[in-house]
């Protein structure tokens, strides 16, 4: 008899129990009571089992923790013999990184100037090149014709892999020496960072 069948006892099925009706009812009531009692008891037992395992696992973890702490303590004591070498290595590695950054910075400056001078038309004469820390460049110079400045500006604008934010700042014609004075600003990427043409 399943649990659900208990509830179906009054659904019209015939009771073929030969016991007297009163005694039969008493048997059902006792069974219901036992089943009802089993639910909280079962819950308590289940919670008890969970608690037991939690205590067991907790104790195991606690023992492992003590063991690890002891081992770490031993290793820390041993570490004392090597701490100076360890700090030396850490220091060396930190400083190598800083030094390599410095070398990269210098390489980039050289590379930027190589890029800039490779794109200056031969007709131009520069009077100023400023390279800022951020890679921003100001170029000033003179050209015999406006088309020479135009050529330079176009070269810079077309080489987007090397130059960005190209702006013609000033352009004036000087009648005294028949030259155009110009000023350009742009940002330039080091050769290594630019795409190969």
């Amino acid at each position: 008899m399943g649990l659900l069948d208990i509830f179906r006892k009054k659904t019209g099925k015939r009771n073929i129990n030969l016991l007297p009706e009163e005694e039969g009812e008493s048997v059902f009531t006792r069974r219901d009571f036992i089943i009802a009692l089993l639910i909280p008891v079962g819950t308590v037992v289940f919670l008890g089992v969970v608690l037991f395992f939690l205590l067991l696992f907790g104790t195991q973890a606690s023992l492992k923790h003590s063991d690890l702490a002891k081992k770490i303590q031993q290793k820390q004591t041993e570490w004392g013999k090597y701490s100076e070498v360890a700090s030396g290595i850490t220091e060396i590695k930190t400083n190598i990184t800083t030094y390599q950054d410095v070398l990269t910075k210098n390489k980039n400056v050289r590379s930027i100037f190589d890029v800039i001078r490779s794109d200056i038309p031969i007709t131009l004469t520069l009077s100023k090149i400023d390279l800022s820390e951020k890679g921003e460049v100001l170029v000033e110079g003179t050209a015999p014709k406006a088309v020479d400045v135009y050529q330079y500006l176009q070269v810079l604008k077309n080489k987007t892999e090397n130059y960005t934010f190209v702006v013609l700042k000033t352009i004036t014609y000087n009648g005294a020496d028949s030259t155009y004075k110009f000023g350009l600003t742009f940002s330039v990427k080091p050769a290594g960072n630019a795409k190969n043409k």
Partner: protein, 261 residues
């Protein structure tokens, strides 16, 4: 009353409902007070153990690595790195190095300007620097001119020197390339070349930055320490490559007339 209880007990649905209600109350009362704290404690211990296991593994690995390290080599590398990146400002050493390499590059030195993070303001150095060669003292032909514009903010662990020179672009690039052979980290932050009409050579303003090294007082045992072979290779290359340095002059001491004859 007794009859009511008996009636309730006879009703199986009420009885079952009551049993479930008692179970829910038990769960509600025991789980948060008894089980959850123990569960949390166990989980916390497990996490701690996991961390400790990793820590132990790192310390064990570190000890194995360090036991194999050549202490003399490490000491040699440390000395090299402290020459490249000293912990304290070595202004005069850097000035002496720059004096040497600028003159070797064929450019004329006009002025040198030191800017330290602590000082905050720039100061021009019209001083004698120790010679790069230990045989005598050389004077810098320093005059105060318009200092090169310093655009960068100095960090606390670096100082800058601005140099005004006379030379051409190729000489400037050669000078910057020479910095790779100097036994002191000198970085170039900004370069400006300008040529006035009629001038023979452009005036060059260069800003150099000298980072300072970091002193590691004590390495933590649970942080991985390893000297990679690539690091060792780099250091060995540096030992052979970095040949330019400056030492204090070793002139004889004692001047009866210190203000000159």
């Amino acid at each position: 009353m007794k009859a009511d209880v008996a009636k309730i007990l006879k009703n199986s649905k009420i009885l079952l409902g009551l049993a479930i209600a008692i179970s829910v109350i038990l769960v509600g009362a025991l789980v948060p007070t008894l089980l959850l704290p123990r569960f949390r404690h166990w989980r916390s211990l497990q996490e701690t153990n996991q961390t400790d296991t990793q820590k132990l593994a790192v310390i064990t690995a570190n000890l194995a690595v360090l036991a194999d390290q050549d202490r003399e080599k490490i000491s040699e590398y440390k000395t090299l790195m402290s020459a490249i990146l000293p912990v304290e400002e070595d202004t005069l050493r850097v000035l002496a190095i720059l004096d040497q390499i600028i003159k070797n590059s064929g450019m004329a030195l006009d002025s040198l300007q030191v800017k330290t993070a602590a000082a905050g303001a720039a100061k021009t150095i019209p001083v004698q620097t120790p010679a790069s060669q230990p045989t005598g003292t050389k004077a810098l032909g320093v005059t105060t001119t318009q200092p090169p514009t310093t655009t960068s903010a100095l960090s606390a662990n670096s100082f800058q020197i601005g140099a005004t020179l006379h030379g051409n672009l190729s000489s400037v690039l050669a000078l910057i390339e020479t910095l790779d052979s100097v036994k002191r980290a000198i970085g170039t932050t900004s370069v400006s070349l300008s040529k006035a009409t009629g001038a023979e050579r452009p005036t060059v303003n260069i800003n150099f930055v000298m980072p300072l090294g970091k002193k590691v007082a004590a390495a933590s045992a649970d942080t991985k320490v390893e000297m990679a072979s690539s690091d060792e290779k780099t250091l060995e290359e540096l030992i052979g490559k970095l040949i330019i340095d400056a030492l204090p002059a070793t002139s004889p001491l004692g001047q009866p007339e210190p203000f000159g004859r």
